[in-house]
Amino acid sequence: MYRYDLTDKTLVNERVAQFRDQTRRFLAGDLSEDEFRHLRLRNGLYIQRHAPMLRVSIPYGLLSSTQLRALAQIARRYDRGYGHFTTRQNIQYNWPKLEAVPDILAELAEVEMHAIQTSGNCIRNITSDHLAGITPNELADPRPWCEIIRQWATFHPEFSYLPRKFKIAVTGAPQDRAASLVHDVGVHIVRGPEGDLGFEILAGGGLGRTPIIGQVVREFLPRQHLLSYLEAVLRVYNTEGRRDNLTKARIKILVRSLGLEEFKRRVEAEWELLRDGGPSIDDAQVARMLGSFNPPAYRTLADSKPDAGKSTAFRAWYRYNTAPHKVAGYRAVYVSLKKPGVAPGDATDTQMELLADLADRYSFGEIRVTHTQNLLLADVEQESTHELWQILEKAGLATPNIGTLTDIICCPGLDFCSLANAGSIDVARLINERFDDYDYLYDLGELEVKMSGCMNACGHHHVGHIGILGVDKSGEEWYQITIGGAAGADASLGMVIGPSVPKSEVPETIARLLEVYVEQRQPEERFLDTVRRLGVKPFKERVYAAPVAA
């Protein structure tokens, strides 16, 4: 993985000193609440319902075991013994004390981590495919490009006060596991007309109040121009984006109001003026960065069937919680953070320390965060998976539900967030209680349930096969259900099935949607595809046909 050089270290250490001074000035009364808010929000620090919330950046979701141990230690020392992994591959702490944040940042800096630009109207963490570098059909590893963009975006002097936040995702495989179509900018590694690698650039995607699927603004960009082109996109946005209305300030609204063609024209015009004088990337620089992501020292192994003859429980886990690896004899292993009864995405300090040890023992000392709020040991020898499973199982980290109904993406909700209308974590609990039959879950197949506690859509409900949105009805928690959303390469926005339902009826509503699917599906058809084929009508009719028994 990429290791800090002197410049990286210097910048992060100087940031700690800067934030320490800003915090000191605030606590001394030299900075007003409002002045400090603008400063702390550039550093991942929100003031939430119970306490400050600190979001720590995990660039493209990649962690070393040393970094994970540091995150565990911070959870224990400054929080209540756990952290929450997010849909943008970051980690959040919900209980740090404001005065302690500079010390937390200093501890992070020791392990080459920071909270820079994890909030505020600036370029946020660059996210990517959690199977980057190991998935069999990848065109190229996106992470070197993520790191190049990360450095360019860090403290970018021109783009640190944008109209609104700006999220970039980069992928290198045909499957989109980074939800890049609902990002402000999506960068896809593609082959150009001459067969050389470059990028397809999308812009204007996003969720929130106005969900929009991103559109292609450039079909092929030669790789040396990546940063100058991004600079052109950002400059058009910084200049033209709306600043009079926060809910209309994302780039998606600009793209829509100008129209795709006019937006493209402006970006291209700006880029023509920038491309030769702007930041460029030469081959030597690319080579150096690629070298930071060289594959680990894989052993020469043959593929095997480690699940053959093993217990049903292991076979289920192997089938659902592991993924193919491009190197023979290896497998990627998901660590499910979706155990029933636990808030989706949460991990305790001891779990994190255990996983750091397991990463050292089984996966070259690295661990990844997925955008679906699970963790991943990317490079495990197939023959070690049974042993690893036994350890994960004991630690409550082997719930065999990856990609199924109970692998729910969920925001922190009312329990922590001051914006939420709904206790999304509690709804996840109700769903888990209702759907506890794994045979049924497996029969349902691939199913993405995504839940957000409010319109800000941190839980990506718009792009869930089943989406659940918390709404406030005169002080009570109600839930609006959508179906047919998807976040991958075939991204689509879910359609509302009808009036929202009270919390207690969410599980029954989902059960009825699934009944229709089971009755109507064609062989091998996913829930999503049945919805696309049939439309909302039959699902809606079933859900609202009879009142839910109390």
Binding site: D5, L6, T7, D8, T10, L11, E14, R15, A17, Q18, Q22, D30, E35, H38, L39, N121, E147, I148, Q151, W152, T154, F155, H156, P157, E158, F159, S160, Y161, L162, L227, R235, N238, T239, R243, L273, G277, P279, S280, I281, Q285, R288, M289
Partner: protein, 166 residues
């Protein structure tokens, strides 16, 4: 008492006045708004004094570029902590239109923004008394940067093109 400024890393008394401020010496350097400039361009030129131009965030730098020869100062306004259009204006003036005069940040300008402003080409800052004494230190918050820039009057120990040389 004249306004104090941080200019080229020195705290100095401002010799400029805005056209909206009380009249003083008829030949004192004067900052006019874009509207005033466009309305009475010939009159301002005939005045024979040094001229500065005050631009608002919505002004396109391209639209004033052909007149830059008349100005020794451009003052970009930052109406609040959320409006970052001035950063783009600064870079365009310096990099695309080769503007060499004083580039001043006005309005909501605090020590915590100075580093970014300087890297976008600003070399003078209207700061509150509370901020001005510490402002020079704020310019030195970071001794390295990832982006190449042609900021004036600042030199970095480390500066690199993307990505880093190790």
């Amino acid at each position: 008492m004249p306004r104090r400024l941080l200019r080229d890393r020195q705290i100095v008394a401002d010799e400029w006045r805005y056209a909206s401020e009380a009249a003083g010496d008829a030949l004192a350097p004067l900052i006019v708004t874009v509207d005033a400039w466009r309305a009475e361009r010939d009159r301002w030129i005939a005045r024979g004094s040094r001229l500065g131009l005050a631009i608002a965030p919505a002004h396109k730098v391209e639209s004033i570029a052909q007149d830059l020869q008349f100005f020794e100062l451009v003052a970009a306004e930052f109406p609040g902590p959320a409006d970052g259009r001035g950063y783009t204006q600064g870079r365009l003036l310096r990099e695309r239109f080769d503007y060499k005069g004083e580039l001043r940040a006005t309005g909501y300008v605090h020590r915590d923004q100075l580093f970014f402003l300087a890297r976008c080409g600003f070399n003078s800052f209207e700061l509150s008394d509370a901020d001005i004494e510490d402002a020079h230190a704020a310019l030195l918050t970071f001794s390295a940067a990832y982006q190449p820039s042609n900021d004036m009057g600042l030199s970095f120990k480390l500066r690199r093109e993307m990505p880093a040389s190790a």
